[in-house]
């Protein structure tokens, strides 16, 4: 069996903020690789550099040194081929669904929006939009008949986050990046979000997911591989089984111990 295609890579990523005495190294020589269809978890506490790494991997920030490629094309500024492909083929899910959904828009309008602005779908017609919106909502476990006409204010946190996931999914991206998608959601609703991601993985086997989280209890169910960041350094990376059951780095061990009851 051939290994799935490498989708996104970050090589030797270093990011330094500030100058002179104020210099802070947010990321120090971090390399990651995401393959089609896999779910990679980026784990670390606050200040570990996971958000900085994510921004760089998405081309939203530039590394001080190191390179990013998407489908073998360099992601280097908004004109670059890699950047443009990455924009077309990636979607984001944010931490707080209530600030990432427009409060004045219905669920139907929010989920359909990416199809209307994405060049890839420039020629899509109304009935196809409706079909794809229905499909996305169903996949995340929301009955379109019940939810299409609702506004964010009429959704629970878990439902709102699933709407945001449906919106990320609707353009059939090759990559979904979820930045702490469960930390603002209560425990019972987190399971529903996990289910939604599991359903995506099953029905879109080529879609890669990067899940950023500080919560090992959450990522144990969804990630194939885990990268652990601590103070800007990659302290561990491996399969979910290895990292959770045979952690090598001291920090990972501490993290694992704290997350187990």
């Amino acid at each position: 069996m051939t290994e799935p295609q490498v989708l996104l890579t970050g090589n030797g990523i270093t990011r330094i903020f500030g100058k002179g005495n104020e210099r802070q190294t947010a990321l120090d020589d971090v390399s990651v690789e995401v393959r089609a269809g896999e779910c990679l978890a980026l784990i670390g506490g606050s200040g570990s550099g996971k958000s900085t790494l994510t921004r760089i991997l998405l081309g939203l920030d530039r590394p001080t040194s190191g390179t990013v490629t998407f489908e073998d094309e360099s992601v280097d500024g908004s004109k670059s081929v890699g950047y443009q492909a990455l924009r077309r083929e990636s979607s984001l899910v944010f931490q707080s669904p209530f600030t990432s959904l427009d409060p004045r828009w219905t669920v139907a309008k929010s989920v359909a929006e990416p199809l209307k602005i994405q060049h890839k779908y420039a020629k899509i017609d109304g009935s196809d939009i409706d079909r794809k919106v229905h499909e996305s909502l169903s996949l995340v476990g929301l009955d379109p008949n019940e939810f299409l006409s609702r506004y964010p204010v009429d959704l629970s946190g878990g439902q709102a986050q699933r709407v945001a996931i449906a919106r990320a999914l609707v353009t059939d991206p090759k990559l979904i990046v979820a930045d702490e998608p469960m930390s603002a959601i209560d425990v019972a609703a987190r399971l529903q979000i996990l289910k939604a991601f599991a359903a995506i993985r099953k029905s879109r086997p080529d879609t890669a997911i990067i899940m950023i989280s500080h919560d090992l209890g959450v990522v144990q169910h969804i990630a194939d591989r885990i990268v652990v960041l601590h103070h800007g350094k990659m302290v561990e990376s491996g399969t979910t089984d290895d990292v959770l059951n045979r952690p090598k780095a001291a920090y990972t061990r501490e993290l694992v111990a704290a997350a187990s009851l």
Binding site: G45, D186, D215, A258, L261
Partner: protein, 263 residues
């Protein structure tokens, strides 16, 4: 000494009932949990205890802290209570701390408001408090934005505890933190509250945190208490549907490792 008795508390806002017929008792020196999904009314109950309900809230029943009836109490009575006898630790330290006050000034403020101490005495107490919450003395000169989330929450705890309150209300104090920091903050809070002999109401939606922080708890669903009891028992043998659901979710989301189970 300060126990808490919440009797038949009802809260409604704009005609919509938020909390109904809630009875909660916290004994002297007891650590009690209040758990429920978001929207179940947890924070409204803690706000009622602090006399911080929205102005258009209609309340019935009573909340008695020590011998003071808080529901409907005069603002001057409440002001004498809050920060002096009742300390609060909130979910998001970044927004509950004053961004333009240094950490030292922040922690000193409740002392200034509630005690008649000279400056040297106040500063000595602030230094001692910083040490108790595990922060370096140099942190006193820093602003909240210069601290990590865990450090900010330590400042929040120091500010709540500086006046030696008899009751601590901790409303989701660890939800915004990573799991290592979460555990450190819970353990810190528990040890400080116990050492001071204070009581604590700990609000959370997370059963693993609840188990570490409390000995007894109440489960809230749709504004009503649906179950209560010893926290460990309740985790082992949940009775009601909502409790079973919450416990199952908490189990599922606790890290399952191949070998260990060392609680």
């Amino acid at each position: 000494m300060m126990g808490v008795d919440v009797n038949k508390l009802g809260i409604s806002i704009g005609g919509k009932s938020i909390v109904r017929d809630v009875n909660v008792h916290i004994g002297d020196g007891e650590r009690v949990g209040l758990i429920g999904s978001s929207g179940s009314g947890k924070s409204m109950i803690s706000k009622a205890m602090l006399g911080l309900l929205p102005i258009n809230a209609q309340t019935e029943g009573s909340v008695i802290l020590g011998d003071t009836q808080v529901v409907g109490a005069d603002e001057t009575v409440l002001a004498g209570l809050r920060g002096r006898y009742v300390g609060a630790v909130f979910q998001n330290p970044a927004s509950s701390l004053n961004p333009v006050l240094t950490v030292g000034k922040q922690i000193e403020l409740p002392l200034k408001l509630h005690y008649d101490l000279d400056k040297a005495d106040r500063q000595a107490r602030v230094s001692a408090m910083l040490e108790k919450v595990g922060l370096d003395a140099t942190v006193a000169k820093k602003y909240p934005s210069e601290l990590s989330g865990g450090q900010q929450q330590r400042v929040g705890i120091a500010t709540a505890l500086i006046t030696s309150p008899r009751l601590i209300i901790a409303d989701e104090p660890t939800t915004a933190l990573d799991s290592i920091t979460q555990r450190q903050i819970v353990d810190l809070l528990v040890s400080l509250v116990d050492k001071a002999g204070a009581s604590m109401l700990f609000i959370t939606h997370d059963f693993s945190v609840l188990a570490r922080a409390t000995t007894r708890c109440y489960v809230l669903d749709g504004g009503r208490i649906v179950e209560s009891g010893n926290t460990a028992d309740l985790l082992e043998h949940p009775q009601g549907e909502q409790t079973k659901k919450l416990v199952a979710a908490a189990r599922e989301l606790t890290l399952q490792r191949k070998q260990n189970r060392d609680d």
